[in-house]
């Protein structure tokens, strides 16, 4: 019973935090965009425009909800629902912190550390493609369908390279559990130092998976009006946009925990602080890393132009996948050499 309550509380917290961060990512996106373009950005709703996400939310809810006459109504509603559901599901396996000791019992700050955590994330993320595909198909609109086709082909192509870049990491760490991978990176033994190529491949694929610039072809305004969500309005559109920001947050969290040590930070043992305090500090540092990567996502968005579609496919199949394969080979050789197989 106690187990269920603890997990329930954690689930609710992670859910609310994801939503809150996604909401404020929209604000951060606009502010950072403005700053990088020497503008001020939204500053009218509350001090520094801090209430802007609330105003946007109210706007989204108040807008008229339109379902096109020739749209498949059931699928039209299913699309954004799948998108939102899968976006919220991925946060389950991410270790948000070390363990908290309350009344002598140790509680991990992670909802569940299943031993196939990475596979779980890949599974859930690939269901997310259906959200876009179904939404674009059900809209019964050329632009939506084009956007959906682009999105699904892009995500399938980059998922391959992403999976292969993770395989190299798994070969080094010997486990698929994210909690275990983070534990191995204690102190400053971050995976980014032993897997730099894998990290670069992973982050590029993460950009593609989140449909962020320079891979935002599915919603490329100049060619496709709005892409797969052209026909969507009101909170259904809000769900699509919101899911994109949650995905970005979760991707940042995965990058931070797989390659940047998660809640670990240098000199973690030399502080001499009580265990619970260290855990809280670790969680804060983890969120610091996550926020940096969210910033990085936005920073890149205002730096690089969008790929052309053939360039996107060229990079995906002829650059990323061979590089990922090479990385696997290199890692395999190093692992075997370390194990003394060549002597």
């Amino acid at each position: 019973m106690e187990f269920i309550i603890v997990k329930f509380v954690l689930v609710v917290i992670v859910f609310l935090v994801s939503l809150g961060i996604a909401a404020y990512s929209t604000y951060a996106e606009r502010k950072i965009a403005a700053f990088l373009q020497d503008r001020v950005g939204p500053d009218r709703a509350g001090p520094f425009g801090i209430l802007q996400p609330l105003a946007d939310g109210v706007k989204m809810f108040m807008k008229e909800e339109i379902i096109p006459t020739h749209a498949d109504k059931g699928l039209f509603i299913l699309g954004p629902s799948i998108m939102m559901m899968t976006a919220c599901m991925t946060g389950v396996v991410i270790p948000w912190g070390n363990t908290l000791i309350i009344n002598g019992t140790e509680y991990p700050v992670q909802i569940t550390d299943i031993n196939i955590g990475i596979l779980y994330i890949f599974g859930v993320v690939s269901i997310g493609v259906y959200g876009i595909m179904i939404g674009g198909w059900a809209s019964n609109n050329k632009y939506s369908l084009m956007g959906a086709i682009r999105a699904s082909s892009q995500m399938i192509s980059y998922e391959l390279a992403m999976g292969m870049s993770i395989i190299a990491l798994v070969m080094m760490t010997g486990t698929l559990s994210i909690g275990e991978i983070v534990k191995q990176q204690q102190g400053m033994h971050w995976n980014v130092f032993v897997q730099p190529l894998g990290f670069i491949l992973f982050i590029v694929c993460a950009f593609a998976e989140c449909n962020r610039t320079p891979f935002d072809l599915p919603e490329c305004e100049t060619e496709l009006v709005g892409g797969y969500h052209t026909e969507y309005s009101s909170m259904k559109l809000g769900f699509y946009l919101f899911a994109e920001y949650i995905n970005m947050f979760i991707s940042s969290a995965i990058i931070a925990s797989l390659y940047f040590g998660g809640y670990n930070f240098p000199f973690i043992d030399q502080l001499g602080l009580p265990h619970n305090l260290l855990t809280l500090l670790g969680t804060l540092i983890f969120f610091g890393k996550v926020f940096f990567f969210i910033f990085f996502f936005m920073w890149v968005r205002w730096t690089l132009p969008r790929f052309r579609y053939d360039q996107l496919m060229h990079v995906g199949w002829r650059v990323m996948i061979p590089l990922a394969l090479f990385n696997i080979l290199l890692t395999a050789v190093i692992v075997l050499w370390q194990n003394g197989q060549f002597n």
Partner: protein, 179 residues
Amino acid sequence: MQLTNRSEVVVNKEMTFKERLYFPAIISGLIITVKHLFKKRATVKYPEEIRPMAPVYRGLHVLKRDEQGRENCTACGLCAVACPAEAITMTAAERKKGEEHLYREEKYAAIYEINMLRCIFCGLCEEACPKEAIFLTDRMLPSDMNRANFIFGKDKLVEGVSIDSRIDISKRTNAHRKD
């Protein structure tokens, strides 16, 4: 045939390995954008902060009164004739007995309207006016949600009678002012 000596030969040369990696270029791009994070913002936050205006700026109109608080305008209609945007309309009326403290001459404008959406703020009305009644000031036209509110009547155009509610037009250097 060569027309100028400025033409350049286009070379589609192969990229070097470093260029094909793209990462040096991406990183230098990222550095350029992040530098802008610390640059001065170009935005002027308008209602709180007003950009310095040129001394000849032509803003909102004012219908002046004389020293005794009588309206200068005699509804001659020269401003309306001069107006290239046809923004000014007026209806003249005759001054009655006992209204001498309100209007300076026997004729006055009962209705005087400027459609601010048509007005181009050229200042020709000011130039045309023989009675020094209409002037453009350094004030800005306030925004509104309703088109009807942009038709400014005498209630918005005529300055107040008391000395402090008079509108200062001396801040604008105006070559055409007769005084």
